[in-house]
Amino acid sequence: MSFLILEGVSKYYGGFGALIDMSLTVERGEFISLLGPSGCGKTTTLQAIAGLIDVTRGRMQLDGRDITHLPVNQRGLGIVFQSYALFPHMTVAQNVSFGLEMRKVPKHQRDEQIAQMLKLVHLDALASRYPRELSGGQRQRVAIARALVIAPPVLLLDEPLSNLDAKLREEMQFELRRIQRKVGTTTIMVTHDQAEALSISDRVVVMEAGRATQVDAPYRLYEHPKTEFISGFVGKTNLLPGRLSRSAAACDVVLAQGQRVAVDGAAFADGAAVTVCLRPEKLFFTGAAQGALRGRIEERFFLGSQWLYRVATPLGELEVSSANDGSVPLEEHADVHLAWALDVARLVAPGLAAAAVST
């Protein structure tokens, strides 16, 4: 049986469903990310697991025990809040010590555990500082240490990196994963940053308007998004609406202007409305070979490790990214030919929330 089980957990505020029929099973030691735009219910899910809100419906089980209606101070889960919520009137060591004191751990044992934990998060030198004397990254590590020192069965992280600047955020992502691997605590993290979710989770739960729409490993999520929304939210994508046309020999999508794109459309019936997703990095420039798509570079952006081109083609404007391998990039307004491997074009059902697709 799974370690943490959510069965149809729902939270309604009046008629508004903040979280609708959330079902999820988490294995011991897993790192799960809840990913979605703001207001999608990811924080509500976390608060429901933490016991900070009462769920309207559904059941939650932790290690075979029903925790659905257990108050927050009896669940014993470790929580890292978005604001860190450190105790401002206590030193770093006292902050970390608080949970142990509540568990009536004897003094000498407590000191040992605090020292060990502060060492793990590289804060052993700052034990007697007050939170206001620390930087954002240090505060965040105190919050993690405070949550982990009680050896919680599950660690809950609410947008733990959102208050840090970009460079530090990247460092802390890997730091977080290192700590989690070392202590092996089952972890659930809420984030709106897809790069963060992809880089450190074992599995990602994508949420949209209160519902989980896809639960998958990061690589699968990126390569096989289930909906238009997910393909747009997780990474960049080119979306081409069309209709499936299946014949004995081949499976094509007929696009708006009548062009045909060969795809692998096993999951869809003949004539179904579908959307083709093409990742920018799966497109490449080629010579004027047959089957290549003619286009013209409209704009070019330098992103450091890669170049991003906006290319006007008969299929519409496509984003193409190519690695900055040191060679001279293509000029704006140049005529080019585009191609892609047959198996990189993904098909999804046209999203109901097609209007919400951005980024």
């Binding site: 933490a50 016991g51 900070l52 108050p71 927050v72 101070n73 009896q74 669940r75 014993g76 889960l77 470790g78 929580i79 809040f81 978005q82 604001s83 919520a85 450190l86 105790f87 401002p88 009137h89 206590m90 608080f98 949970g99 509540m102 568990r103 007050y130 206001r132 405070r146 949550a147 009680i150």
Partner: protein
């Protein structure tokens, strides 16, 4: 930096300095000077320079009793204001959107009514035939002498001073991250422990500044002790009033006023040094 810009800050603060000097320092200095002048029962203030008024105050146990009474009445008022005001502010900060504004208004409303009017109101309530005594009689306690006792003064002072406690505590509660309480709960703390170890230490600066205000104002209150303490239950402020307006012994009144100011300052500064010092390091 040239000479002009060096003087600019001083020039800019000149109006407020002038106001402060005129309204606060000058009367204080005049009072201090007055307290050092000679007094004759037949002539009145005679000028000259003497410590006679101070010697008179220091040498008479009557004044010690009054100072002591003023001290404990102010201290008790402060204590009750802390015990009532701090929880009141906490409850207020936890209220929902319409109720919070309504109750804040209820708490602040007494400030809009003159202290004299409120004192008369209390004397009606606490009088021998007032509502309070009627209620006591009804529940079987019997009538109590409340009016013209220290109890009446303390009750009315608490009523007047409560907003001065609630507001600073409420302000420090506003700065509290509500998630901090959730964090303590998630670490298995009971609600009582959260209150004692997380909330209370963080609102202590508010409680401290509130109690300084309440103590200072209570110790120098005039209208409430004057109207609810009666002629015989004297407090320092009423004695000063009497010396000035009834006995016409201005130097003695001034000497008592200066003494009250000095004692008030000493109490507040030492209180501040002892308690707030301990929290300054933590709270910044």
């Amino acid at each position: 930096m040239n000479a002009r810009s060096r003087w600019a800050p001083y020039l800019l603060s000149l109006p407020s300095l002038a106001l402060f000097g005129l309204m606060v320092l000058l009367p204080l200095a005049l009072t201090a000077l007055l307290s050092l002048q000679q007094y004759d029962v037949d002539v009145g203030v005679k000028g000259g320079f003497t410590f006679a008024s101070y010697a008179h105050v220091l040498g008479d146990s009557y004044y010690y009793e009054i100072f002591f009474r003023t001290g404990w009445v102010a201290a008790l008022t402060t204590l009750i204001c802390v015990l009532v005001g701090a929880p009141e502010a906490y409850i207020l900060s936890r209220m929902g959107s319409p109720w919070r504004s309504i109750f804040l208004l209820v708490i602040l409303a007494p400030l809009l009514v003159s202290v004299v009017v409120r004192a008369f109101g209390w004397s009606l309530l606490l009088g021998p035939n007032g509502i309070v005594n009627q209620a006591f009689e009804w529940v079987g306690i019997g009538r109590l002498r409340l009016l013209y006792t220290p109890a009446a003064v303390v009750i009315a002072l608490v009523h007047v001073m409560l907003p001065f406690m609630v507001i600073p505590v409420w302000t420090s509660l506003q700065k509290l991250d509500p998630m901090v309480e959730s964090a303590a709960l998630s670490l298995s703390a009971s609600h009582w422990t959260v209150m004692r170890r997380i909330v209370l230490p963080q609102i202590t600066p508010g409680v401290l500044s509130g109690s300084l205000i309440v103590f200072g104002l209570s110790a120098s209150a005039l209208a409430i002790p004057g109207l609810l303490g009666g002629r015989r239950l004297k407090m320092v402020a009423t004695v000063i009033y009497d010396e000035y307006l009834h006995e016409l012994n201005w130097p003695l009144g001034a000497a008592i006023a200066v003494a009250l100011l000095a004692i008030n300052l000493a109490v507040m500064l030492s209180y501040n040094a002892v308690l707030e010092g301990a929290y300054k390091k933590r709270m910044g």
